[in-house]
Amino acid sequence: MHVPMQTSYDEDIRLFRHRVAALWYALLAAAVLAAPAILGDYHLLQLSLVAIYAIAGVGVMLLVGYAGQISLGHAAFLAAGAYGEAILRAEGWPFLLSLPAAGAAAGLLGLVLALSTSRLAGLYLAIATLAFAFIVEEVLTRWETLTGGSFGLMVGRITFGQVTIDAEWKFYYLAVGLLVLALLGALNLLRSRTGRALTAIRDSEISAQSLGVHPARYKALVLTISATLTGVAGALYAHRIQFITPDQFTILMSVELLVLVVVGGLGSLHGAVLGAIFIVVLPQIIVMLRDAFAISSAYQAGLDAGVYGLLMVLFMLYEPRGLHGRWVKVKLYLDIFPYYRKATFRRQRLFQKSERLR
């Protein structure tokens, strides 16, 4: 078991708490960088998809896992980013401008939604985002001159001046690079005043307020950040699948993003990445299950819905800290073997806690 001997406060603040952790992350970085040399295009494509989901996952995690606000409408922000990117690229904007603009467009939508709903108690936000996503979906279908309606839009390749992202490995590096930036930014916020304010709102809005946190302001901030990151992921997603239609951004996508953070592990950025890996691998597992039980592919939609639903129920019941929480437990078990006690992670029951506002 590693017991760090701390000699300065900075050791608690910096990104890698001790050398062993830094070493593991260095190894991971090396593996990620070396991947294109080892893996074929198909697996690289899957990994880029993981990175895209993880960027959106970081956004959803900040909102849901850290600030404790449920969103059922993140597909709308993903769509805003994807359509924003597709339209701006078609207008001839360079990628270096269109990507931030697509993210900003989604962020702006998030801000508008946040400003109009920030006085609401937590659960109302879920309903408001749901309503918002339905409206966005309808607008995408109806505003045919801009979005191509249900026929959809073609999305071209990414170009930086002379450089064209025309190979899987190039796209992979781009997506992973953006993911790393998103993770670093999120980590920095989380170890600062903003991050503490977010978790404070999640755990007790009333005492957060009595300590000077302006709940409405921070809720607006986190929804804006979350929408922006999801928008950036949407822009990459548009390039990844090259053809976007409104029916890719339905409530099912919103739920998928929610499953991502729940399964990955609420309240951890590791969880956002683990969840993204899970979401990309899941359809393949479902297909394997389907074949194993010889279920007709006509039931595919039902299986998807059922697996997502069951995952949400089972994880909330049995492992509310998700895959990351499970990993932490396993690690502790191995570290202190044979002294592990189940009670270490016993869930607290909080009776008499009421969030009721009316």
Binding site: Y9, D10, D12, I13, G185, N188, L189, R191, S192, R193, T194, R196, A197, T199, A200, R202, D203, S204, I206, S207, A208, Q209, S210, L211, G212, V213, H214, P215, L221, G267, R346, Q348, L350, Q352
Partner: protein, 252 residues
């Protein structure tokens, strides 16, 4: 010198007058206790002061400034911090993290400097940490520094909440039943801490308390409240002997 003053404060909830025409003033450096039977309006009074509720009538003045209509999140930056009757901690965070949230109002790092974690931001973080370590030392919380508060014993959670309020460096601290749920030994510790808070940190203390032993031991003055109204104010011994106060407690 008067630090805090309430003038003719009133608040009703659906026809029930929870606080009725309450006036009081607290001098700087005083330990001022509020006693009264259940439902007397003590916590409502605190909630009015920390601006969780809006007053129907009257005025709240702190350090010469009228705060009757101040936004609730601005109260603490002026120097009023509080604790809650049924502990309101950030359950999923460590003790250290809880205390650091207490520092929220004492810094103004910009979003960009946080996003990039600049050197300036790092310095501010380390300053916060130094302040918080001082409080951890004062309240003997070293052993629990990195423990999630959700798993701590009730008595320790109460102390963490006190520490969190102190981290905000208030001039006035409102303690809502600080000794409820504590055993005799913990209550004794609490009495010393309350005096230390006043003597060493120079913080004025207002507390709602049922434990008369504690009230007697630390208070400079005591206010008795019943059915939203002030019954009496005075030295602890005077209040204990006041026939109206005794009557209110006996349910007369």
């Amino acid at each position: 010198m008067t630090l805090f003053e309430v003038r003719n404060l009133g608040r009703s909830f659906g026809g029930i007058q929870a606080v009725r025409d309450v006036s009081l003033s607290v001098a700087e450096g005083e330990i001022f206790s509020i006693i009264g039977p259940n439902g007397a309006g003590k916590t409502t009074l605190f909630n009015l002061v920390s601006r969780l509720y809006d007053a129907d009538s009257g005025q709240i003045v702190f350090a010469g400034r009228d705060i009757t209509r101040l936004a609730p999140h601005r109260v603490v930056e002026l120097g009023i911090a509080r604790t809650f009757q049924n502990i309101e901690l950030f359950e999923n965070s460590s003790v250290l993290h809880n205390l650091l949230v207490g520092r929220h109002c004492r810094a103004s790092t910009g979003f960009l400097s946080e996003l990039l974690f600049t050197q300036a931001n790092r310095r501010v973080e380390i300053e916060h940490r130094e302040k918080v370590e001082g409080i951890i030392e004062l309240l003997d919380l070293q052993a629990h520094r990195n423990a999630p508060v959700g798993g701590l014993a009730y008595g320790i959670r109460k102390v963490v909440e006190l520490g969190r309020a102190l981290a905000a460096e208030p001039r006035l601290i409102l303690l809502d039943e600080p000794s409820s749920g504590l055993n005799a030994e913990e209550t004794e510790d609490l009495a010393f801490w309350i005096q230390d808070i006043r003597d060493d940190l120079g913080i004025t203390v207002m507390m709602i308390e049922h434990d008369m032993g504690l009230v007697n031991m630390v208070s400079n003055r005591v206010l008795a409240l019943d059915r939203g109204q002030v019954l009496a104010v005075g030295k602890p011994a005077e209040i204990m002997e006041n026939p109206r106060v005794i009557n209110a407690y006996l349910g007369g």
